[in-house]
């Protein structure tokens, strides 16, 4: 094959030409459809931002949730929508009926420690007992309500079920969605 043979395809205009017009390759039908799409995209982006400000994707009032156990021993304030790698805090109020001999016990499910990445428990528990489904902490308590904070930093996106309870009382179950 000689070196010129590969250049044998004639160059042609592939668009319709009228009166020797300049071939721009414009596709107005596509462009009009795109402009419509752009408008919709901007509306969607605006709605996403408004939703974000309201807490639809966590860290806002829509994400905040509170739940109390049926027997009133435990009240939990948490965020039902969390963001991966972002710190948040869960607050637990433990009622007076749970205080025995100056101590309060609290069971937290494994999902809270693993998927939701519990970093720190305030105050520091006196003891931690590891069980098959979670950990039971014991805190010295002088009065009630005893307030315990758990600092979370979730690492696994998904929906996780958590369980919290004062051993012997009714448990609290909740679902927390972690966004990537």
């Amino acid at each position: 094959m000689s070196s010129t043979e590969q250049f044998t395809e004639p160059a042609t205009d592939n668009g319709p030409l009228v009166d020797d017009a300049v071939e721009v390759g414009e596709d107005l039908d596509f462009q009009r459809a795109w402009w419509r799409f752009e408008k919709i995209a901007w509306i969607v982006l605006s709605l996403v931002l408004i939703g974000d400000a309201a807490g639809l994707f966590g860290r806002g009032w829509l994400a905040k949730a509170e739940v109390t156990s049926p027997d009133q021993t435990l009240h939990v304030g948490y965020e039902r929508i969390e963001r991966a790698g972002t710190p948040s805090e869960m607050t637990l109020r433990i009622g007076s009926t749970a205080v025995h001999d100056g101590r309060v016990r609290l069971f937290v499910s494994e999902s809270l420690l693993q998927q939701l990445g519990a970093q720190r428990i305030i105050p520091q528990p006196a003891t931690s007992d590891v069980g098959p489904n979670g950990v039971t902490y014991t805190f010295p308590a002088t009065g009630s309500p005893a307030i315990v904070g758990i600092e979370l930093e979730p690492s696994f996106p998904g929906v996780h079920r958590i369980e919290l309870s004062v051993p012997g009382a009714q448990p609290i179950e909740a679902r927390i969605a972690v966004l990537p």
């Binding site: 017009a21 414009e26 596709d27 795109w34």
Partner: protein, 153 residues
């Protein structure tokens, strides 16, 4: 998880392509200062989400390779399918032809006759009469074709 960092890198790249396509083309050969801000700021903001807390060299290398791979794939698909190329790049738009402004296209692309004439002056054309056609190209430049003086001969 390693697979998540790869997915994050690919998602970040595709999302930025989408956003830059939505933000749109602006005429001009060079970036204006505020467009530099847009580019650097978007880059920096993307970085925080893509890297997360994984500051390892392994993470950087695999994410760079992911972005390179996705870029290669998009370039390949774009070259093989005119429909996808049109989606990614858009289509050129005629702005001025036969002495008529394409007002609707210009309004939609936020281009004024002054923008077109600025580019015409760049091509040594001083008046609208000297322009045979003007088009907004896919890369955001306005291309001008000069009216030939000897066309009537």
């Amino acid at each position: 998880m390693a697979i998540l960092t790869i997915l994050r890198a690919a998602w970040g790249y595709l999302f930025l392509i989408f956003i830059s396509r939505i933000v749109g083309r602006r005429p001009g050969k060079q970036l204006a200062p505020f467009e530099f801000v847009l580019i650097f700021y978007l880059g920096g903001l993307t970085l925080t989400g893509m890297v997360g807390q994984e500051f390892s060299l392994t993470n950087a290398v695999t994410q760079i390779m992911t972005v390179a791979g996705v870029h290669w794939l998009i370039t390949k698909v774009r070259a093989s399918s005119p429909r996808i190329a049109r989606l990614i790049d858009g289509t050129p738009l005629t702005l001025l032809e036969g002495g008529q402004w394409r007002s609707l296209s210009m309004k939609a692309m936020k281009i004024s006759p002054a923008d077109v004439m600025a580019m015409a002056r760049d091509r040594d054309i001083g008046t609208v009469d000297g322009v045979r056609s003007a088009a907004l190209e896919r890369n955001g430049e306005i291309s001008i074709i000069k009216k030939q003086d000897n066309k009537q001969e």
